[in-house]
């Protein structure tokens, strides 16, 4: 399950638009270093940034 899919499972109200780098408030990034994706920016106005435990 990708990081995006884990976040959507926690917050089903989010859509791909929320992750759009041009207009969204959440940026997921993968540095292609084998460590996987991470939350680079979380600026959603109402939803709290998920904890590592919630995403585990």
């Amino acid at each position: 399950m990708s990081l995006y899919e884990k976040i959507i499972a926690l917050y089903p109200e989010l859509t791909t638009e929320d992750f759009c780098p041009l207009e969204g408030t959440i940026v997921l990034q993968d540095d292609s270093d084998g460590k996987g994706a991470f939350i680079r920016e979380w600026n959603h106005p109402t939803l709290a940034k998920p904890t590592d435990e919630e995403l585990a």
Binding site: S2, Y4, T16, F19, C20, P21, L22, L28, D30, D31
Partner: protein, 195 residues
Amino acid sequence: MTITLKPTASETTIQNNGSDIFTVDSTGIAMASGKTIQNASGDVLLPVSNTPAFSAQLGSAQTLTNVTVTKALFNNELFDTDNAFDTSTNRFTVPSGKGGIYSISAHLRLATGVSNLNLAVMYLYKNNAIAKYGYNNHDANGRGAADSIALTTLLDLNAGDYLEIFAYIGGGSSGSGHQLNTAGHTIFCGHRLIT
């Protein structure tokens, strides 16, 4: 310091303490090996050299994850005049003493057949922050197969600054699976301008 003019029938060589500096003949001026013309700041004006210069391309197809900004893997180096491009980090770093205006270009080709690629973005990161970007926005119409993004820009860079290329695809749930594809079409290159 002793400056000597050594004329012959066809040319004149100027020497400093017996060492050739340059030669003048009917075709122009030829600098001796290792000799340069510099301005007051010590910048070499002649002979000209657009270096550092580098070019790297995708080594093999790279699958992207939907709505995730992903570093592109340019692990096939074509040339790198100053060993400034690191294929292990896919990063170009301005060498010491080589700051200046750089022309930077990149092209990404997105391939394979997902049905609803709505947005494709290419980011040029400078020091882990967005410096420039380009994108194709297909809105809700989607795009099924190949897509591409190109970007060329000039950046004023200092020694130690580093550049990376990231890609983003956005679509519906089936947006995953798009790939950066075809080595010759997914490239990252640049060089310092003569100033």
